[in-house]
Amino acid sequence: MLDRLLNTGTFQAAQGALDGLSARHAAIADNLANVNTPGYKRKEVPFEDTLARAVKDQTSQCTGAASGPVRPFTPCVTRDTDSQARADGNNVDIEAEMVRLADTSLRYETLTQYVGGFFSGLKAVINAK
């Protein structure tokens, strides 16, 4: 019962996305730190598709067998070797990374807002007289 209460599909998606966005933020920080490193290829964390599949599979499992605690979602880091590189072989574009940084932190904050609201909603209902 508690599991169904605390681990809804949306909540799991939000939790996984927070993990993914946190990893993406680290990748962007890495790209920015290495903006002047010759030959560095930018890192990216394309977690959305994996997460969508993970959430879908898990919810379909959940209907039958007892589901355990949320398995930590592990987003994978890939290298972008396609983008046009500069003369020194580095393909980090500082402006593009700044845009991604802003996008990542806004998404992260949106999801923390949802998760915070999720818990305060639960608490409000639980403690209602």
């Binding site: 680290a26 920080a29 920015l32 880091v77 500082i94 923390t112």
Partner: protein, 147 residues
């Protein structure tokens, strides 16, 4: 990778860019230094960066030796691989007072140094912004418990 890790990564970037700025300042300061301990004019120094992919520092080497696998790759960040002397030729300036008829000046172009300085500053600023974003994200994550 966690946000705490990305703070360290950004910090490594700031340290590296800072050192680069120091080296650039040193180059600009020595733009007219004709005598060094080696007897030659000052040679331009430049910093070589390398991505640090983890596994080389002591804690991660210890972890892998002990068969412990950290849940996330320990890599990330930048390190200064070396500070190297520019092998380029010295500038020759005509000097009637000199027995050779010219003076050797350091192989430094102040304009190029300024361009490098701007690049380093931009990278530094980007790192600062990333740290600010990380702090804000942590702050928001803490608000999950304020319900």
């Amino acid at each position: 990778m966690s946000i705490a890790r990305s703070l360290q990564i950004s910090a490594s970037g700031l340290t590296a860019e800072r050192l680069r700025m120091d080296v650039i300042s040193n180059n600009i300061a020595n733009v007219n230094t004709t005598q060094t301990a080696a007897g030659t004019p000052y040679r331009r120094q430049h910093v070589i960066f390398a991505a640090s992919e983890g596994g080389s520092d002591f804690p991660s080497a210890l972890r892998s030796a002990a068969g412990m696998r950290s849940s996330e790759p320990n890599g990330g960040g930048v390190r200064v691989a070396s500070v190297e002397a520019d092998k380029g030729d010295f500038k020759r300036v005509k000097d009637p007072d000199s027995p050779t008829g010219y003076t050797l000046l350091p192989n430094i172009e102040p304009v190029m140094e300024m361009v490098d300085l701007i690049t380093a500053t931009r990278a530094y600023d980007a790192g600062v912004t990333a740290i600010g974003a990380a702090k804000q994200m942590q702050q928001k994550a803490l608000e999950i418990g304020r319900g």
